[in-house]
């Protein structure tokens, strides 16, 4: 199956030297791909480059089989795009925005768009300047989804949405995936990425540092270990791969990365009263790549 989004050495460098420094991506049709990284890591730059909105410094990319550099109009025709912190015309209503967007796409049938608007709870006939941040975000999401695009490129889509709207939005995304649509979204909300995405990309300083399934990332990076001793515990800090050892109320808590053989040997030599080993949350995985930097 052809990749819905493909990038080879995608590079967009700004005058200050920041940007995206060569990214490779292969995202299949019908996949939800989460894109993680702190502010300034290159998430928005990547999405804008995939939309053909910025001129690439190097590399290439295709979206729905269309070259983003030479065929950007076609890319935008088959793609739904949600900018980060989207700006709308304050004197226009959501319905007028919708008419404008669908009109420029040559779509006359409004039924799908209106159904999406109803599910998201968009106030269609109020001027967007009178709407709250969350309600403006709903309008922007509606505009990205209104033409039922093959590919969705969403920059921080759930930003500003209330919990009910987030639920409605996630349900919509899952339905779109079930219909074979491809969704590429950046987010700060790690549980959201964990819930929605099959695979996750982690970007740092303009480079992809990890791309894998959420499960694989969790397995490959860290495991959280809780060990309870009735007597004094051994020194787990000496075990290869162990970090963040903390003891409290007779329980020792730490993380281990990599080969756990040494840990098992120590546990065998000092049998605990109880031991629990769990996969870490995506947030914990993410922090291992960023050393505790905020997202």
């Amino acid at each position: 199956m052809a990749a819905a989004i493909e990038a080879r050495g995608l590079r967009k460098v700004y005058r200050n030297g920041r940007g995206v420094l060569g990214i490779d991506l292969d995202i299949q049709a019908g996949e939800i791909f989460g894109f993680l990284g702190p502010n300034g890591a290159g998430k928005t730059t990547t999405i804008r480059a995939l939309m053909g909105l910025s001129h690439l410094t190097g590399g290439s990319a295709t979206v729905a089989g269309k070259d983003v550099r030479h065929d950007s109009l076609e890319v935008r025709r088959v793609t739904g795009y949600l900018p980060g912190d989207p700006a709308l015309y304050e004197s226009m209503t959501a319905r007028q925005h919708l008419e404008l967007a669908l009109g420029l796409r040559g779509i006359r049938d409004r039924r799908y768009a209106l159904a999406v608007a109803e599910r998201l709870g968009v106030e269609l006939d109020r001027r967007t300047g009178q709407l709250s941040r969350g309600n403006r975000q709903k309008v922007a999401i509606l505009l990205a989804l209104a033409h039922d695009p093959e590919v969705l490129l969403l920059d921080e889509p759930s930003s500003g949405l209330d919990p009910l709207a987030q639920d409605a939005f996630r349900a919509l995304l899952l339905e779109l995936r079930a219909r074979g649509r491809t969704i590429f979204f950046s987010s700060h909300v790690l549980p959201e990425v964990e819930t929605l995405s099959e695979r996750v990309g982690i970007i740092r300083d303009g480079r992809l540092v990890a791309v894998d399934s959420v499960d694989a990332l969790r397995r490959s990076r860290l495991k959280e270990v809780r060990v309870r001793y009735l007597a004094d515990p051994p020194d787990f800090g000496q075990v290869a791969g162990v970090r963040g050892v903390a003891a409290k109320d007779g329980e020792v808590l730490f993380h281990i990365a990599g080969d756990p053989s040494d840990l098992f040997r120590l546990l065998a030599a000092h049998p605990p009263a109880d031991v629990t080993i769990v996969d870490p949350s995506l947030e914990e995985v993410f922090r291992t790549y960023y050393g505790g930097q905020a997202t």
Binding site: H55, Y89, L100
Partner: protein, 262 residues
């Protein structure tokens, strides 16, 4: 034409305000003109001015009847320049305002080429200018008709046509300058600066060589207005030269906008 209609709606209020101001201005002139027309005070006053000031007010005044001359000075002569400044502001805002308010991502996230975006928005500006000129010239003609002066529609229309092309080339120049500018204020400064060039040139020529109507051809783009009013000569030179310049500047604006980052 979706973007064209949208841009027209966006500009509608400001152009409507302009049209109302013009109509009110003409009305004010209408109420004041008879007093001026009945007395030769204005003419005498102007005759008494130093030559440089007389030139500043329009050297060909004396060939006009009083009301005609008064209108000529107040409206016909300086209106192209004032409209040009207003238009320079509008044109420089066409793209810069969208960038300033971060709405360009919304527009360019749709299947719209940058070329189409620039051309449709500029076409809306041109349409609004034409409408404004119709209002202006129409008001002038109605005023003259109301004052029972012989109405010279053709002469004023030709003068207005050449003035329109002055504003078009000003708008295209401002558009090009702003197409590569990120900051809104810088863009507007460029627009106003470009619009002020013919105004400054005209002032300089009038002060230096009062009454030399033919010298005004370059900055105004029209033949000496009295010449047009009297002969009804179609301003071919203005239309051709300024029209071509408008097209070239617009192409330059499109290319600049296609190359830039948004």
């Amino acid at each position: 034409m979706t973007l064209y209609r949208m841009a027209l709606r966006q500009q509608f209020v400001s152009w409507l305000v302009w049209a109302i101001v013009i109509a009110l201005g003409v009305g004010t002139v209408a109420s004041a003109a008879p007093a001026v027309a009945d007395s030769q005070a204005l003419v005498a006053l102007i005759r008494g001015l130093p030559p440089s000031f007389r030139g500043l007010m329009g050297g060909a005044l004396m060939v006009q009847r009083p009301l005609d001359g008064y209108l000529y000075i107040k409206l016909v002569m300086y209106l192209p320049l004032l409209v040009g400044i207003f238009t320079g502001f509008q044109a420089s805002s066409l793209l810069a305002r969208e960038l300033e308010h971060r709405r360009m991502d919304f527009l360019l996230g749709l299947p719209v080429s940058r070329r189409r975006l620039v051309l449709e928005r500029f076409a809306a500006l041109v349409t609004a200018q034409v409408a404004m000129w119709v209002v202006t010239i129409g008001s002038l003609v109605l005023l003259l008709h109301g004052e029972r002066y012989p109405v010279d529609v053709t002469g004023y229309a030709l003068t207005g046509l050449s003035g329109l092309f002055v504003t078009l080339v000003t708008a295209a120049g401002a558009l090009w300058a702003s197409a590569g500018t990120r900051d809104y204020r810088t863009s507007v400064r460029w627009g106003l600066g470009i619009a002020a060039v013919p105004f400054a040139y005209d002032l300089a020529v009038r002060i230096a060589t009062p009454g030399a109507g033919w010298r005004y051809i370059l900055p105004y783009g029209y033949y000496d207005p009295p010449h047009l009013l009297l002969t009804h000569a179609f301003p071919w030179l203005a239309v051709l030269v300024l029209g071509a310049a408008t097209v070239l500047l617009t192409i330059g604006a499109v290319r600049t906008f296609e190359r830039r980052e948004v």
